[in-house]
């Protein structure tokens, strides 16, 4: 009888320790998960910011001014454009 009791006490102690361990692990994992989620949110806002910056750096007004002034480009006109229709293009390719 005593031996059984001793065994049960041992099992109880092991189980308790395991519970403590599991609770600790789960909290640690949860913290990691939460940190990863925050990181994702941060990267997401960062991405939005960079997208906005990219667009701001490439507005049509700015592109046009740069093309005109720095690169000395002009608007294409039909006079200097060769128009090809789709079917004709594929014909040439073959």
């Amino acid at each position: 009888m005593t031996r059984v009791n001793m065994l049960l006490v041992l099992a109880l102690i092991l189980s308790s320790l395991y519970l403590v361990r599991t609770a600790y692990d789960s909290r640690r994992l949860f913290t990691d998960l939460d940190r990863a989620k925050n990181e994702a949110a941060r990267l997401d806002t960062e991405q939005r910011r960079l997208e906005a910056e990219r667009q701001a750096a490439a507005t049509n007004l700015r592109v046009e001014r740069t093309a005109r002034e720095r690169l000395a480009m002009r608007n294409a006109t039909p006079a200097v454009t060769l128009y090809v229709s789709d079917s004709a293009a594929s014909g040439v390719a073959r």
Binding site: R35, N75, T77, P78, A79
Partner: protein
């Protein structure tokens, strides 16, 4: 002292008389009710305690549970971001970015003089102000600067001053800036739409903040969720019909024209005829939505939608169209316009240049008032009113956009004959540039006036059905007249553009000032379409008060039209329908209004 001795003596007498072994109190028997009473009291006390315990732990435990939870639970906000606004190809027109705002707890701040000076330099504030803000040790919170750029915060952080913190706020960014300012609008600091699309679609754009309750540990890390998490719902993204390229180009051309002609303002509207989508809606003067200090009403006005004016000559094609449609005339029916004036109930209407006999097509081409009035006077006033109403004059545009005005078209029953006559060539009613552009879709879309949309239409959807007003062949005949009007011998040869056939009508008017027409203030506009055989776009351009010598619509607005058409059709990938060769148009006729 005698009373003291007496007292002493008395006390001595008493102490001598007490016998502890035989106290009468001990000898007397305790009555049994006393112990019973005590037991009953103790029992009652226990009952009260148990009752109280029950009440706290079982019956009314909610309050204490909540209080207990409050000691370790923290509620975190999950901020939702406002939806973005993009153009038809996905280019961002408005987006929210999270930016740092720098704040301090003044009493925690420990900074050397050097650090403070550095901080002042970074923030661009005078040293004295920084010093003042940090010196106020009684306050527990002060903003240093709100909504700063990320790199700046990093620099401030690198200074390593204790007591300086950041918090995140959303700031709206408008990458296209002033070019699309009137179209997109803007929000206030609390992210509520104030103008334009931001206002019109406030409910869609707005997100809904979520929240979660968590347990934090000693280090401030989240270790557990409590209860359900309310997810943040981001605002819906809005995809506009506008094309950022067309929009920006139209804005530039309007701006250039306004500056060139020393005008007060200008507007341009581009509508895709096939789908009714608004490709561009530009106004000058404009503003930078990111920096709205010192804004004037003139800059904020979305003139294309809110400013009304008498449409003048641009109404003549409608009269000609209805005369054709109702079988009263054919395009080659001659109309006598000599001697260049006509009298209706005592009032005389004149042409700026007398012409003689003109065909119906020539009446439009030369913009003859007399010819138009002669056609209009054959019509019933009710007919005319219905025609004008159907193409949208005097009707509020069915458009999800704030501020669109109705214009003025009086009920036909109040029209006197002279008013019917003046209305035929565009006086006595008023319209916005946008309404005018939309009305011209009736010619461009083979007799159907198109419903317009600010939002991109789904690609798979069939094009929306228009309201049929004219027969297709009538619309084609009027287009031919408009082509003549914008050609050599018409009023706006400068509307011609390389590679594409165009057609349109100019308008020029003395501006109304109070009840009078001003003698030296004009408004010039042009409405047209291209390519004329199978129109793809309608473009309307208006320039307000050109003061640099020229003021006719054909000289001021038509060149803007030509450039915008050229660029827009190229962007849309429409192949030119004209053989490209240098086109010389020397002999345009003087235009009348």
């Amino acid at each position: 002292m005698s009373w003291f001795r007496k007292l002493n003596r008395k006390a001595g007498a008493v102490s001598r008389g007490v016998s502890y072994s035989s106290s009468p109190l001990l000898a007397s028997k305790t009555p049994p009710w006393r112990s019973k009473f005590l037991v009953a009291m103790i029992g009652l006390g226990s009952v009260v305690l148990i009752g109280r315990a029950l009440s706290i732990q079982v019956v009314h435990n909610q309050f204490y549970l909540e209080q207990g939870e409050k000691r370790y639970a923290h509620e975190l906000d999950l901020p939702a971001s406002r939806g973005r606004i993009t153009d038809r190809h996905g280019a961002l027109l408005a987006t929210s970015v999270s930016v740092p705002s720098i704040w301090v707890i003044p009493k925690d701040v420990q900074a050397t003089r050097e650090q403070k000076r550095e901080l002042a330099k970074l923030l661009g504030l005078p040293y004295a102000e920084i010093d003042r803000k940090l010196a106020d040790t009684s306050s527990r919170f002060a903003w240093l600067q709100r909504q700063v750029d990320e790199p700046l915060w990093q620099q401030v952080k690198a200074l390593g001053i204790k007591g300086v913190y950041e918090t995140r706020e959303y700031r709206r960014k408008y990458p296209e800036g002033e070019a699309a300012a009137h179209l997109v609008g803007f929000t206030d600091t609390d992210d509520n739409g104030q103008e334009g699309i931001e206002l019109a679609f406030q409910r869609d754009l707005q997100g809904k903040d979520g929240s979660r309750v968590v347990v934090k540990d000693r280090l401030g890390r989240v270790v557990e969720n409590i209860g359900d998490q309310v997810e943040a719902v981001d605002g819906r993204n809005i995809e506009l019909a506008a094309d950022a390229k067309v929009q920006s180009y139209a804005y530039q051309r309007v701006r250039d024209a306004v500056l060139e002609h020393k005008a007060k303002a200008g507007s341009a509207v581009v509508i895709d005829v096939q789908s009714g989508e608004v490709l561009a809606l530009a106004n000058y003067p404009s503003f930078n939505p990111a920096d709205r200090r010192n804004l004037t009403g003139a800059q904020l006005r979305n003139r294309a939608l809110t400013d009304t004016f008498e449409p003048g000559s641009t109404m003549k094609p409608f009269i000609a169209a209805w005369a054709l449609d109702s079988g009263r005339v054919r395009p080659d029916t001659p109309i006598q316009t000599a001697p260049g004036s006509i009298t209706i109930t005592g009032s005389t209407i004149r042409d700026a240049h007398p012409h003689g006999v003109l065909t119906v097509a020539e009446v439009i081409q030369k913009s003859s008032n007399v010819g138009t009035v002669k056609m209009a006077m054959q019509m019933d006033r009710r007919e005319m009113w219905e025609l004008y109403s159907q193409v949208g004059f005097g009707q509020k545009p069915q458009l999800q956009f704030p501020g669109a005005v109705t214009g003025r078209l009086r009920p036909f029953k109040t029209w006197r004959p002279i008013e019917q006559a003046t209305m035929s060539y565009g006086y006595g009613l008023s319209t916005s540039l946008f309404q005018l552009a939309r009305a011209y879709t009736v010619f461009a879309h083979d007799g159907e006036v198109m419903p317009v949309s600010m939002l991109k239409q789904a690609a798979a959807a069939t094009p929306p059905a228009g309201l049929r007003v004219l027969k297709p062949e009538t619309a084609r005949a009027v287009r031919e007249m408009l082509r003549l009007a914008a050609g050599p011998g018409g009023t706006a040869p400068r509307a011609q553009t390389m590679g594409y056939s165009v057609g349109g009508k100019t308008g020029t008017a003395h501006k109304q000032e109070g009840k009078e027409y001003s003698s030296n203030k004009y408004r010039a506009w042009f409405v047209g379409m291209a390519p004329i055989d199978k129109p793809r776009i309608v473009v309307a351009v208006m320039v307000d008060e050109p003061t640099n010598g020229v003021y006719f619509g054909g000289d001021v607005a038509a060149p803007v039209f030509a450039q915008v058409v050229q660029q827009t059709l190229r962007t849309l990938g429409v192949a030119p329908d004209l053989d490209v060769k240098p086109q010389i148009m020397a002999n345009g006729v003087a235009e009348s209004f």
